[in-house]
């Protein structure tokens, strides 16, 4: 090659090499810009993504608050039990481990098969696994002596939700049941992490079901803690990073009374029915008992399927809370309300008398409404009408009532609506109106319907809770508190007032006098319970007829079938003259109100007053 040619070649090479090396430098700059955008501009996003990759947060279960009665005695507590926990990832041979531990801890076949099923999955991500729940003292002692043989197993405390009165507070307290997650309370922890929660309860993550446990669930449940683990790309736990301690839930101080509840359960026995008692000074509910009941300890801590099915299929419906959901005709216990209506609407006054022949004939149709006493009570004024529970008197009073106004009046006394502030699943029962009858039965309201209402029969139904609320209104002469299971210390409930200008203090006094006479006088229908106590009690009993019959003889035939027998009902308040408590009792198919439901009410009153 000649010199010029070489010079041309060299220049040509230089420019081409510059072009290529220049492109390489541009490539390096492009990489640097990209790295800059990742590391500097995108830093916070990517840092978060890296944290999300490696940080695995699990909830640490909080303990629920405990529940106390009005005297500070514990109703529901957290009782420690002990579980045997293993670290399956560190156990090389599961079978020989189980063989070794069997003489120390009794293991059932289901324990073993469940353990074997779960251990592989837990071992992979090195998590803990429960081998046996609720160890006996003997097992704990045996294990502790030999614990050096079992490096990869340990005993841990797990709580159970326990009450010492599982059968007598079932409906009002409610129970707790297992839940898969508590995501709503802690949305920062993803749903899938809840299966790895660090548990405080042997039964797992729990949530209140029915009763106080459900109504006050947020208050009782406290705040779950949180433990953050570092995990690797395969999801295996590497090490714990941080821990936030759980906060125990608040304790719940209720108005319930253990002794009174015991009395209610004892005197109701195995009969179906309900008892509600209210403290008139605060509106606090001291007793809310429904029979038959069930064991909330079993429900909270694991009940076998057959036991549960038996409860569900029981014809007496133990899960049915009669105190809040049972709809009963109030029968004669409605008479004070009808009397109040008659007096405040000037249909009658205290001196007004009728002649009671033992029946009332509806003028329009000639239909006969019978009194419970054949032949009647003779001359009856209002006072006597309460004492002897004259149906004829209230038939004729109701006959003159305007059904719309009477419905409004009953509603103003709490019928047909929920009256308790914090009861779970309260039913509002029902006060009939002409519109209702027309839309439901496609029939017009007739006078006979109003007449029936006058003695608490027919379409009107009420719950024991409503009857107790009504009794507390009567006892406080209209200045009562709304009933509630829990009264928060400094938060005084405002008083509720029922008043009517045409129903004054003297009317109230006469009403109390009459209702006192029902129990305490020689002629009162509930005089049989007079001797059961040392204080004076006012009240009104009732017998709710389930079948409408024209004669006593016919009833004797009906009696043969127990489920058609009359319900016995009573509302009482005392001690008179300054009543402190109001009680309602219903005994299904108990017949004659005063004599059957009466003693239960008196015993409950006695336990409440004795304290």
């Amino acid at each position: 090659m000649i010199f010029e040619e070489r010079q041309i070649e060299k220049n040509n090479f230089s420019s081409r090499a510059t072009l290529l090396f220049g492109s390489i430098i541009l490539g390096l700059i492009a990489v640097l810009i990209k790295v800059f955008s990742l590391q500097i501009s995108g830093y916070s996003d990517y840092q978060l993504a890296a944290l999300k990759n490696k940080n695995y947060a699990v909830p640490v279960q909080s303990l629920r608050g405990e529940i106390f009665d009005r005297n500070g005695k514990v109703l529901v507590k957290n009782q420690p039990t002990f579980d045997l926990i293993t670290r399956p990832n560190l156990i090389s041979d599961i079978d020989s481990f189980l063989d070794e531990i069997e003489p120390v801890i009794f293991l059932s076949h289901t324990d073993i098969s469940r353990y074997k099923k779960l251990q592989k999955e837990k071992a992979f991500v090195n998590k803990e696994l429960v081998l046996k729940k609720d160890l006996s003292d003997e097992e704990i002692a045996r294990f502790n002596v030999r614990s050096f043989n079992f490096q990869n197993a340990f005993i841990a405390k797990r709580y159970r939700r326990i009450t010492d009165y599982p059968e007598i507070f079932s409906h009002v307290l409610g129970y707790t049941s297992r839940t898969d997650d508590d995501y709503e309370s802690m949305p920062e922890i993803p749903k899938s992490h809840w299966k790895d929660a660090e548990l405080s309860y042997a039964h797992g993550l729990i949530k209140g079901r029915i009763g106080l446990e459900e109504i006050y669930d947020d208050y009782l449940s406290g705040k779950h803690g949180q433990r953050v683990y570092e995990i690797n790309a395969r999801g295996q736990l590497v090490q714990p990073l941080s821990f936030i301690e759980p906060e125990k839930g608040s304790d719940l101080f209720t108005n319930l009374d253990i002794e009174a509840h015991k009395s209610a359960a004892k005197y109701l026995g195995n009969r179906k029915g309900a008892v509600v008692a209210i403290d008139l000074e605060s509106g606090g509910i001291n007793v809310l008992y429904s029979s038959p009941a069930y064991s909330i300890n079993k429900l909270s801590n694991g009940m076998s399927d057959t036991e549960f099915q038996d409860l569900i299929n029981d014809l007496d419906k133990p899960f049915f809370n009669r105190a809040l959901q049972g709809r009963y005709p109030p029968a004669s216990t409605i008479k004070p309300a009808i009397g109040m209506y008659g007096l405040s609407n000037n249909i009658v006054n205290w001196d007004f008398e009728i002649k009671d022949p033992g029946f009332f004939t509806l003028p329009e149709t000639g239909r006969v409404f019978r009194d419970w006493l054949k032949g009647g009570h003779g001359k009856v004024d209002m006072h006597k009408a309460f004492l002897v529970s004259s149906n004829t008197y209230f038939f004729s009073l109701a006959y003159q009532a305007d059904i719309q106004e009477l419905s409004n009046h009953l509603s103003s006394l709490g019928f047909g609506q929920k009256v308790c502030l914090d009861c779970f699943g309260e039913d509002q029962a029902f006060v009939p109106t002409p519109e209702w009858k027309y839309s439901m039965m496609n029939a017009g309201w007739v006078k006979g319907d109003t007449v029936n209402l006058g003695v608490g029969q027919g379409y009107l139904v009420a719950t024991p809770m409503q009857l107790a609320n009504y009794a507390s209104l009567l006892a406080t002469k209209g200045k009562y508190f709304e009933p509630s299971l829990v009264t928060f210390g400094n938060q005084k409930k405002s008083i509720k007032i029922w008043q009517d200008d045409r129903f004054d203090d003297s009317d109230w006094s006469k009403m109390h006098e009459a209702l006192l006479g029902v129990i305490e006088s020689d002629h009162g229908t509930a005089r049989s319970i007079r001797g059961l106590k040392e204080f004076q009690v006012a009240g009104k009993s009732g017998t709710a007829e389930l079948v409408s019959l024209d004669s006593k003889e016919a009833y004797q035939e009906v009696r043969a079938s127990e489920s058609l027998r009359d319900h016995s009902i009573i509302i009482v308040f005392g001690p008179m003259p300054n009543p402190r408590y109001a009680v309602s009792v219903i005994i299904e198919n108990g017949e004659s109100g005063g004599a059957i439901a009466g003693p239960v009410a008196i015993e409950v009153l006695k336990s409440l007053i004795d304290e």
Partner: protein, 362 residues
């Protein structure tokens, strides 16, 4: 000592920048392998052998390389065909040839043999080079490309093609020819996509263009790599502290994705330092190419250093998400004896070409 340095052919700039890179490489590898000393000591051995090879390769006169280039190419191809017939299968690909306890990825040698051979073929041709010469060069390049591509090893095959094309370009390929072949490439791209690419290669390219489509499948690698680099920030998380690396969220930390480890643990400043060393090394090669004694040396230095640069850029672009994932190590840093030794050999040849001076005109 000074006398010795005057006697041997040695370039201090290249030597020290490579020394720095390979020492940093050992350091990063220690963290990337979760402190596996056996991996690091093995790599240290390769680095040591590499330096010896580099110094030895710097000594012969360029003319010796020129005369040997044909033999070198034939030897490389022979080695490759042995691999093809007898080599063990690793990850579905036959790439390795065993020599005693050592295994060698035979395609690495082709990266050197192809540019040296083409430089020899083209250095005395008149400008502009003729069609006949271009076609012979292209046939050689294509043959070598396809042999490696069928292994299958797309990354290395592309690098080999690049190494040949760089020499062809530097030796004065006409612009009109390049324009024509570019158009041809565009037209034939559907054919390449459907017939030549393996399904997994097609999938990699598809996920590159839409990485969020499959966050736990094929694009996992690239997403985790970006998270690792991004979460390093300005200063990094510290040596051995990168959660993406240490907890194995990042794949292939010792090989293809070691740059992400550096990004995570040493941050933007670490990346800046590393890229500066590479840049310095490349600029030194550029200088040597321009000041080399003859056309053959220029072409060899240019071809080899640009091949090295392409290798580097492809790896960097891949881990930061600018290119689809192709298996390509980060030179001097990633684990792997074959690529390391062939890199040292390449730089040994570059030093030889750059430091032997012949003052008499040919």
């Amino acid at each position: 000592m000074n006398k010795l340095f005057q006697k041997i052919y040695f370039d201090p700039y290249i030597f020290f920048s490579i020394f720095l890179l390979s020492m940093l490489g050992l350091f990063f590898l220690f963290s990337a392998s979760n402190a596996d000393t056996s991996i690091v000591s093995k790599q240290f051995f390769y680095v040591f052998v590499g330096f010896i090879i580099m110094i030895l390769a710097s000594q012969p006169d360029p003319d010796i390389f020129r005369r040997m280039s044909g033999l070198f190419l034939i030897f490389s191809l022979l080695l490759l065909s042995i691999t093809y017939l007898f080599g063990p299968e690793i990850n579905g690909a036959q790439r390795w040839v065993r020599i005693g306890p050592l295994s060698f990825q035979s395609s690495e040698l082709l990266k050197l043999a192809v540019p040296v051979f083409l430089a020899n073929f083209l250095f005395d041709k008149k400008l502009p080079i003729q069609r006949k010469e271009i076609i012979i060069s292209l046939i050689i390049i294509c043959c070598c490309f396809f042999i490696v591509f069928r292994q299958p090893d797309l990354g290395t095959a592309l690098i080999i093609a690049c190494s040949g094309l760089f020499v062809l370009f530097l030796s004065g390929l006409s612009w009109s020819f390049m324009g024509g072949s570019f158009i041809l490439l565009i037209i034939s791209s559907p054919f390449i996509w459907n017939i030549l690419l393996q399904p997994f290669q097609r999938q990699r390219i598809a996920t590159f263009f839409n990485p969020e489509s499959d966050p736990f499948g094929a694009s996992w690698n690239i997403i985790q790599s970006k998270v690792a680099i991004g979460s390093g920030g300005l200063l990094g998380k510290g040596f051995g502290q990168g959660s993406q690396t240490q907890l194995n969220f990042l794949p292939e930390t010792e090989t293809d994705f070691i740059f992400s480890v550096i990004g995570e643990e040493f941050g933007f400043l670490g990346v800046l330092l590393l890229l500066s060393i590479y840049l310095f090394l490349l600029l030194r090669c550029f200088y040597l190419a321009l000041s080399a004694r003859d056309r053959f040396c220029r072409l060899v230095i240019g071809g080899l250093s640009l091949t090295f640069a392409a290798n580097l850029i492809i790896n960097l672009c891949m881990v930061v998400g600018l290119l689809p994932v192709v298996g390509m190590p980060l030179p001097f840093i990633s684990k792997g004896g074959s690529s390391l030794v062939s890199l040292f050999l390449a730089f040994g040849i570059i030093v030889s070409m750059g430091t032997h001076k012949k003052f008499l005109p040919q």
